[in-house]
Point group: C2
C-alpha cells in the first residue's frame, strides 16, 4: 500500500512513464509534475458534478440520509468461497477501498508499475469525489451457516412473504451482499462498484447490477422533488433527513437491536418496479391524477394548490365522491393508512432499453427504502394491493439487506460481522 493519492493530483505524475520506461517517481504520493494543476483544471471540465466529499465514517453509514445524489449504481454479490477468512479479509479490503474512493482518492495499491495490473481501473482519474457514497448491506443468505455467522443474523432479516403485484426474477433479486454507490457523476459511481467487485473476484461473484440515471426522491428539504417516468413528482412526502425525530423513529436501528452491529444501521429494501409506459401514456390526465392522487404538473394533492400541502383525505366533491379516490396511490401509501409508518426512500429512474419481442420500453423505478423494521415495507406493500397504480406497474425484483451502523475511526466492515 502506498499513501493516499488523490485522483485529481495523480494526473501528470506518471506522465514520463510509458510502457517499459523507468518510473519517474519512486512513489505515487509524490505529485510534483508541473502539468499537475493544468491537468486537474482540464479534468474539472469533464464533470459538472459538485466537488464535494461526503464523510465515509460516522455514527451511520453515508448514502442513507445523505441528500440523494443524481446517479446510482447498485450491485448484489454472492459469496462463492467457503473460506470464512477470505470473506473477512474482503470486507476489510472493501472498507479501505471505499474510504479512499469516497475521498476522490485512487484505489490504494500499486498504480505505476508497468508489469502489474493497476490497483485502480482508471476511468475516474481526474474526477472529483462527486459526493460519492458507498453503502453496504448483508442479505439473509450470508447468515446461512457457510461462514459461521448464524448467530449474527438480525431476527428481522428474513425473506418477505409473497406480496401483491410481484413477479420476481431470481436472477435480479436478493444476494449475500449489496453495494449501493451514489454519486453526482455516473462514471464515479460505476468506477466504485466495478473496483469493489474486482477486488472480490475469487471470493464473490457479481449477481446483479442496476444503474439508475436520475433520482426520483429527495431526502433533504434542500432538494426539489424530482419526477419519475410517469411524469409525476415522486416522494413529496418522503422522510427528510432534517426530520430528525422521524428519522430516529423509522430509519435507524436503536437500542432494540438484537445485534450490536446493527445499532445505528438500517434495513434496505430494493424493488425494481417496471412501468408499463405505453399503457400509462395512453391514459387520460384525469385518470393519471386520480391514480396517483396528485395534480401532475404541480404535485399538489388533488383538490389543493401546492405540492407540500397535506392531502385532505376525507374531502369530498359536490357529488359526495372522495376528491382523492379510495384507490389512489397517495392515500394507500400514506402514513395514516399504514399505522403511521414512514419510509425513507431514495429511488431512481432506470431504463433497460426496449423489449426485442414487443418493442415496448423496459423502464421504471428502482425503489430503494431504508427502515428499522422490514415489516414496515411489508405493511405498506400489502396495503397497496388495491392501489390503482397496479394496472401500470409490476415489481420484478426484490432485495432485503441489513446495513450495519457507521464505522468509527479504525473500524472496518469486517469488524461488524467478525468481531467476537
Amino acid at each position: 500500500m502506498t499513501g493516499h493519492v488523490s485522483r485529481r493530483r495523480f494526473l501528470g505524475t506518471l506522465g514520463a512513464t510509458g510502457a517499459g520506461a523507468a518510473l519517474a517517481t519512486s512513489g505515487l504520493a509524490a505529485c510534483s509534475s508541473s502539468d499537475d494543476a493544468k491537468s486537474a483544471a482540464g479534468a474539472q471540465q469533464v464533470s459538472s458534478a459538485v466537488d464535494q466529499t461526503v464523510p465515509f465514517r460516522g455514527t451511520h453509514q453515508a448514502g442513507i440520509t445523505t441528500a440523494v445524489q443524481d446517479r446510482l449504481v447498485f450491485s448484489s454479490l454472492d459469496v462463492i468461497t467457503e473460506d470464512r477468512a477470505a470473506l473477512a479479509h474482503l470486507l476489510e479490503t472493501w472498507t479501505t477501498m471505499a474510504e479512499a474512493m469516497t475521498k476522490g482518492d485512487l484505489v490504494p495499491g500499486n498504480q505505476g508499475d508497468p508489469v502489474a495490473a493497476p490497483s485502480d481501473t482508471g476511468e475516474a482519474y481526474g474526477l472529483p469525489s462527486s459526493r460519492l457514497t458507498i453503502t453496504i448491506g448483508f442479505g439473509a443468505t450470508l447468515f446461512d451457516g457457510r461462514f459461521g455467522l448464524e448467530s449474527k443474523r438480525p431476527k428481522l432479516l428474513q425473506a418477505f412473504p409473497p406480496l401483491p403485484n410481484e413477479v420476481l426474477l431470481p436472477d435480479i433479486s436478493d444476494g449475500d451482499i449489496c453495494i449501493q454507490a451514489c454519486a453526482d457523476d455516473p462514471l464515479v459511481a460505476y468506477h466504485a462498484v466495478r473496483n469493489l467487485v474486482r477486488a472480490g473476484i475469487g471470493t464473490t461473484t457479481h449477481r446483479w447490477m442496476q444503474f439508475g440515471f436520475g433520482r426520483t426522491s429527495s431526502t433533504s428539504t434542500t432538494q426539489a422533488t424530482s419526477r419519475n417516468l410517469m411524469g409525476f413528482k415522486d416522494g413529496t412526502n418522503n422522510l427528510k433527513s432534517e426530520q430528525a425525530e422521524d428519522v430516529d423513529t423509522f430509519v435507524w436501528v436503536g437500542k432494540e437491536a438484537d445485534q450490536d452491529w446493527m445499532r445505528n444501521g438500517s434495513f434496505l429494501v430494493s424493488r425494481k418496479i417496471a412501468m408499463f409506459i405505453e399503457t400509462w401514456d395512453h391514459d387520460s390526465l384525469g385518470d393519471q391524477e386520480n391514480v396517483i392522487g396528485r395534480v401532475k404538473d404541480t404535485g399538489a394533492p388533488l383538490g389543493q394548490e401546492s405540492e407540500f400541502e397535506a392531502p385532505k383525505l376525507k374531502a369530498t366533491d359536490s357529488a359526495g365522491e372522495l376528491v382523492i379516490p379510495a384507490d389512489s396511490h397517495i392515500r394507500l401509501a400514506s402514513p395514516s393508512a399504514n399505522g403511521g409508518i414512514k419510509l425513507l426512500r431514495r429511488g431512481y429512474n432506470y431504463t433497460d432499453g426496449v423489449s426485442s419481442s414487443t418493442g415496448t420500453l423496459q423502464a421504471g423505478l428502482f425503489f430503494l427504502a431504508y427502515m428499522n423494521d422490514p415489516n414496515h415495507f411489508v405493511t405498506v406493500q400489502k396495503n397497496l394491493a388495491k392501489d390503482g397504480l397496479n394496472e401500470y406497474i409490476r415489481h420484478i425484483s426484490s432485495g432485503l439487506f441489513a446495513c450495519p451502523g457507521g464505522l468509527q475511526p479504525g473500524e472496518t466492515w469486517k469488524d461488524k460481522l467478525f468481531s467476537s
Copy 2:
C-alpha cells in the same frame, strides 16, 4: 395545437386543475400563476445541467459537431405501416416535436384536458433544455421500396461488408430510422426519445435503444478529453468542430451529394463495442499502454510527455523496438495509417449490468461517428483487424444511417424525403 409552452414556465399554471375540475386557464400559453417563479427556481435545483439551448435549425443538423453532451439516448425504429402518407406525416410531426423539446418547450398539443392523454409525458416538466439535440438518420432499409423512396437512396447508403472482430446481434443492429438524443441531463434525453417513439405508435415500432451514461469523446477544443471504461482518455485526436477545414473535408456531404437531401448532411455509423472488462483489468499497466499506444494517466502518446503531442510513430527505443508498438490502437487508427481519414466520433460509455450466467460486466463503448462517406469507417475498421485491442473488445451491434442536412425555417424532415 396550442402555442409554444416552456416546460419551465408551465409549472404552476395548472395548479388548480385536478382531475375533473374546471380548467383554471383557458389556454396553456397563459402562465400567470404566482407560484411560477418559485416552481421554476425549485426545478432548477433538480438538474445541474447548464440551461443552454442548442439551435434546432441551421445548415447542418445539431448533435453532430455540437460539443458532446454528457448523456445519450439512441433509438432505432422500424416503419410498420405500408402507408407512405403516414410516414410522411410522422416525419412532419417529429420535426415539430423535436424543435419544441430542444427549446425546452412541452410537446405541442393538448396538455390540460383531463379526459385526454397529455401530449407531453411530463417527466421533464420544469427541466431546462439542457443542450438537448435531436438528430435523425435514415437506414438503407427505408429505401427498399415500401414507400416509393428507392430513388431517394444515397448510393453510399448500403450494408457494410463483414468487418473484423464483430459478432453482430440483429436485435440491436440497423433499423429504418435512428434518433439520437444528446443532453446534459439524462431525463431530458430520455423524455425526448420516449415522446417521439410514442408519436410513432402505429407507424413505427421501437427496434432498439441504447443509453449512454458518459461521453467518451469531445468534439470541441473547449472540452477536456474524457475517459472510456478502459480507463484511458478516448478521442484525444478526434476531429473537433473548430477544425473547420477538416470538418468540411470529412464530415459534411457537399456538392458531391447524389441526393439533394443529403447536402450538408452526414453518414452516422453506430457500433456497440463490448469490452471484456475483467480481462482488461487483469492486464498489466505496461501491456494496457502498449495496446492503446498512450500513457494511461496523462493520455500522452508513448514516449512523450503530454496528451496533445503528435504521436511519433517511427520512434524506436534503445533496443530498436517501436516505442508505439506495431499493433497499438492509435497507430492502426491514425490518419496516416488510413490514407488520411479522420472520423468525427461522439461515443458514450454504456452499461448493461452483468451477465446472469457468468457474472461478468456487460459494458463498453457505444461508438458513434459521423462522416461524409461510410467507406471511411470501413477502411479504418479493416485496418484494425490486427489491433491488439481486439483481445479485449468485440463489436456486437452495427448501424449505418444517412442523416439529412439541417432544416431551414419552415422546413420539416418530411420535406427532405417526400418533396418532389
